[in-house]
Subunit: 258 residues, 4 copies
């Protein structure tokens, strides 16, 4: 067995709330992406870099994406400022095999919506809800190391109905004090890429300092890694078996079923 390859992670964030809201800046002085990246960087198999909206090409140049196995995405107030060509570039890399971990308000990012093909809408409330995330698929690698549930003492509420395609795998369902539930951890495949959506992480709470949240993101990154890069193609394929000789077959009337 060859040694496990190092997995190259890029943590992307808007990095706007931190500059405008002192409460957020107090929680994440260097930005949420930095907190998330530092937590991932504790794992010896992960090589982590960051990228943010206000860098050239939104920080996601061809070179950066070439060197990214899994991309982690946090966006909220500036979804519309991500350039369409950057979204197209990220999308193409996901379809080739790059993993994508979408966090919290990223549910409404251009990239997530374009890969889901759905509304991605939900209900929400900024209040003092406690969130309890129940593990509904205990054997899934994304739940490894967790107990039956874990809690966040204060979070924004997201509620059902969540406008997503039926997940391939549903891993977490959240309970909120105010009375709602939410499918807060779910996975999908698109092309050769694997996508994990994970709900927690409102900017005014210390969610990304939480050890369970950090563990889930690390688990999600490893799960989303495919190691693949398969270009999209729509090939004209030669026949593998002999075809009928009759060139006019196409104009014969079609036959019925038995």
């Amino acid at each position: 067995m060859s040694p496990t390859p190092l997995l190259r992670v890029t943590v992307w964030s808007e990095f706007r709330h931190e500059k405008k809201n002192p409460k957020v800046a107090a929680l994440y002085p260097l930005g949420m992406h930095r907190t998330i990246a530092d937590a991932l960087g504790q794992h010896a198999d992960l090589v982590v870099r960051t990228a943010t909206l206000d860098e050239p090409e939104n920080g996601l140049t061809v070179e950066v994406l070439e060197q990214t196995d899994v991309l982690v995405w946090w966006g909220h107030m500036a979804h519309g400022e991500v350039a369409d060509e950057v979204v197209a570039r990220v999308r193409a890399r996901v379809l080739e095999g790059m993993g994508l971990v979408v966090l919290h308000s990223g549910h409404y990012s251009k990239i997530f919506k374009s890969l889901m093909g759905d509304t991605c809408s939900l209900t929400w409330r900024e209040a003092t809800d406690k969130e309890r995330l129940w593990v509904v698929c205990p054997s899934h690698p994304i739940a490894r190391g967790l107990g039956p549930y874990f809690e966040l003492s204060a979070e924004e509420m997201y509620g059902e109905p969540f406008g997503i395609p039926t997940p391939d795998e549903l891993i977490f369902i959240s309970w909120f004090t105010g009375g709602e539930v939410f499918r807060s951890g779910a996975t999908w495949r698109r092309g050769n890429g694997k996508i994990f959506y994970f709900r927690p992480g409102h900017e005014t709470y210390p969610t990304y300092h939480n050890p369970q949240v950090q563990l889930v993101i690390a688990n999600g990154v490893r799960w989303a890694y495919s190691g693949l890069r398969i270009a999209d193609s729509c090939l004209n394929q030669a026949a593998l078996e002999p075809l009928p000789i009759d060139a006019e077959a196409g104009l014969r009337s079609t036959e019925g079923h038995r």
Copy 2:
């Protein structure tokens, strides 16, 4: 029980091959959409109209879509000519609850790709393949009235891998003479809308005159009908249960799992 409502179907087609290729014109003198619409019109519960690319607003005005319960889509050479705002309008209606039946080369239409969020790529060959469509979900209403399989004596080949999200339901798998297989009938939900993709229907073959193909399309139209119109929303929701009083709860450190 109230009587079953009449179901309003719009059959949309590019209507280009028929004008350029005499072989296609011979098969479909009034256009493929007309042949499909006439077949659907035989069913007393269906009220059918048509729309085509070169009509104003690509034939899909707000009014037409308002009066459409299920839209049938055939496109091929002119996918790029469908206006983006028309695609957005159709997409919004699907997410509200309008049904969508996508035929054959529509796999690469803007509307199908935007709802799948995937490559929608496949392999293909224009030759004299026989296609045999096997029913893999015999109890599905879309397969009603069919035997274990039905055949088309000549069709274009579409082969796997087909770049689609895992279907909610897989109904047909095709066998081709040249040696390929294809998931040729599959369904998905997006928003409140139901989507059915059905493979057969290359323009140079008399496929839409085939009684089994006509039956599947009628079954698919009825299956895709939801009768719903639910606007997309992302609501701010008031708490249904008492929340903690502590306004600073959000800054308390989060708690661990049991």
Copy 3:
């Protein structure tokens, strides 16, 4: 269009708690099955009968099942007393196309476990929890007529993880006062039969008198109806296309992939 056929429903129940526990008897003097059947009987398209454990052959003779399109199942304390041959008979009918609606503690019935192939385990608590059922698939016919959620002011709690195969469709998720969540409405196909599991209905609460619960059961019965009866078979099938002549082909070494 021919008129919608009458749908024949059999509501089966253990009918034991009602005879032993005065609290249950006060709520359901004629048995829970009678309350459920009376509610279903309000619908003109449903023809309803009942059957109970202590009748000959547990009330589910060949004749009864022959005349049943959809079976509703409530069991709890006496799962083990249902005869194995009755379970096998019901199972065979489901696989042929009979619908099955399994209620509450029926999650641990022999019939449900045999069709799921899974543990069907969960966590539970008999207390004064409020249950709020959120609709996560608003376009599903089983949710027709409901708002975004409905509530039961007191119910037994069932919590995740629920040991079921990934549902084909997830329709409800429950929130409980005590802090848990549960996938409380879900569907599967087995053979040609359709199965709906619906959580509420502990015997010491008036749940089956609740109009929303009654509506969901009626919706579920209609959804589970297939109108099909397809016998299970494992057929030896003659080739539809010419096979190679070489009778010894089977012993030739196999070929590689391209």
Copy 4:
């Protein structure tokens, strides 16, 4: 990163055809299980043992299963001779987290049918069909190392409809010369266990000597490994949040939805 643990595989087979049919004995002198086990044993991360029907307790004692991470299963003519208590023991281990790879005619084994909850029926033909297995999910680890397809020059035909629950993941679809198709590689989760069904392997063909088949089985074994052992439980759970005090709440009439 700790080194990858050694994965303990048990290859189980009936080992009957080899003793009765000289043609089978010529292909598999020591039994099919031995050929499969030897191929798996080439991988340094796999520790492989075998077990067969005619050993005490069908070779699957408590001790053997305790030491098995993934079980590979081949059975055909003697499904009925596997003891019910052995099947129950294997089933319990799968639900705890043991992986299960079911081969070919194992589709009708007691263990596979009990975990699927479905008919598991199909159509079949023993002839000189060529089988071509197309990869429909190229990014799946079970397809790693394969091209777009691979071929077996002669195999028994299995055809649709295959009476299985909707697979969590569909990996292969087979094309047969005689005109049929089949979902020949699919996965499911049950409890904490992962199950992979792989079609090829009729006893009169040299299928298990084929390098692609051997690769798929090794990939499948690694995919099915969870490393988990979680006992099934149905726990009475204490409330995590305060409950209403009113002990009679259960008898109040239930409330409506908004």
